[in-house]
Symmetry: C2
Subunit: 381 residues, 2 copies
Amino acid sequence: MKINILGASTTKFGELWNVSPRTLAKEAMENALKESGLKASQIDALFVGNMLSGILGNQANLGSLIAEELGVQIPAFRVEGACASGGLALHNAINGLKAGQYRTVLVLGIEKMTDHNQDEITNALMAAGSDEERMAGATFPGVYALMAQAYMQKYKVTEEDLAAISVKNHYHGSLNPKAQFQSPITIAHVMKSSKIADPLKLLDCSPISDGAAAVIITSDDSIKIKKPVYIAASEVATDTLSLHDRKSFTSLSAVVGASATAYKKVGIKPQDIDVCEIHDCFSISEAIATEDLRFSEKGFGAKDIAKGKRTLFKGSIICNPSGGLKACGHPVGATGIKQIVEITEQLRGEAGKRQVEKAKIGLTHNVGGSGAVAVIHILQN
Amino acid sequence: MKINILGASTTKFGELWNVSPRTLAKEAMENALKESGLKASQIDALFVGNMLSGILGNQANLGSLIAEELGVQIPAFRVEGACASGGLALHNAINGLKAGQYRTVLVLGIEKMTDHNQDEITNALMAAGSDEERMAGATFPGVYALMAQAYMQKYKVTEEDLAAISVKNHYHGSLNPKAQFQSPITIAHVMKSSKIADPLKLLDCSPISDGAAAVIITSDDSIKIKKPVYIAASEVATDTLSLHDRKSFTSLSAVVGASATAYKKVGIKPQDIDVCEIHDCFSISEAIATEDLRFSEKGFGAKDIAKGKRTLFKGSIICNPSGGLKACGHPVGATGIKQIVEITEQLRGEAGKRQVEKAKIGLTHNVGGSGAVAVIHILQN
């Protein structure tokens, strides 16, 4: 069964203080519907990826709430797995189609984060961590800083090497009108930015963002599609919540596992990927991800990017043409779906200034917690 | 494809102050595994139904957390739809099997509520409602009291008629060693209990509870099953979050829609059901549910029960042999799975003192919010 993408759209990401979560959801859904040429009444079910609405806004039951906003009383679900909520919602939506339970469904990722103060957000995000990490006073930059320390020491990687990842992603963001940050930065900017958790500095970290993204997928092959893009694989794997329970600090086993299964099911090698969206919540995350996804040799993820190899725009496997979490923004529940929207636009050849040439196979890499869950999707045209 | 139940177990429901959520989850999962004869390594994926862990305990990412507790790194998901979270998790698990993505999965429902004070719980539960309801100061007993007022007026139903529902469910609970309340009560007890939201009194309301329930389901027909029970239908429907946006206060359209589809898919009539578990968060909920499920004529749900007709133990469609939410308890995320466990035990003939004679077809009715989402499962042996 082919799972085709009929519509894909994101709102602008950023500090969107003047819109409610309902308005944000509506905008993404209406644009995806418009693109698909479908009416809301043709949608069989709704899957919502969201992490924080309950914790920060005391609003649960987001499936029903968003279905109400869509104006239809259809089966609706909220799927949550921290920052991987969007990807996990899509995975369950795909299962719903393959099961024959639904034919055409809408998947929305949404998060509204900037209306809350910094302490509230920091604590809320630690809901993705473990009791031990919270009790030790860890924050997510702190947890990823531990990974960065271990990685830099093991592979003789410098802060400048890591900084190159943010520079690349800000450059890509400068080409994306939906990105939260559209200004290019330099290594010097990153190095001079405030230290958050050694060795991570402000410009190594993705921002707090608002945003929504929607995709409409179908198993109905009677629907004509102008520029067909389909989802060839959707794989999920998990790991321990706590960093200290893992065998390695410099590789995420959930990413290794889910991506290996995805490559195998589609019958491709990592090098066959033309374009990908990586979950770069911190610069170190992208360095490790490019290795776990087998784009770079172990220890060379950051170095390859610093040398302008492989993952920069016009390279051989372009990573994060949207600007990634770093520059495009990271409304946590929306991120996994925004990645799908970006790859869809790339494979359709509709990505404007940031179009990757001859993009035929794309991958998305969405992670929850410090690697406790990973979702890999492979898209083809 | 047949979706067989291999294992089904609940913990004791009640005020379980001495156990953590992890311990509670582990107990339910280990007992379900023991019953199935499987090892954790034979489980392909995990689906967790939970509403409040983020809001009350600042713990998200429950899929990964519970997978860690199970000791396996498998795909794991948290599905949330307020008090219907358990049923919605099962629905997505079934889709996962039918899609061919997974063969044998575990579905856990869990909630830990009694460690928090009354105000915290009351506010947290209103996360299932709408902004308007919260801003008006409504609580869930308040919202259901409005439904009860409308229902009593429209159909000339008395408080004593509604009280009969609690009396029936406490009688059933007295036969269930896992129930939170195992003491029978009388109409006089209900009538004398404190008023919560007119006309609902304390004994019209389900309690705040802790508990976990787990089922293991498979599409693998090579696994031998001693007493086979399978899931014949799994249907979901939604409605508006706010009561005031609905056409009727005396019927839940999500329940009407999901149950009609389920009956049709299985090819049975409501009267073919032998035993069912109803989401009686309040006495009024069961009255309306028996009508929406078409067990009773419109306006006769409570009256039929008051007359000892139909739904009482030894009647023709036994409702809530577990004691229902009222007497068995209502750990919200666990409820939808506990219902499946109860019906499984009934269809296997293993329900002990509360065994419904010749039970062959069972139904579960799991609702989120004041009817914003409904999940119906039909089980057969």
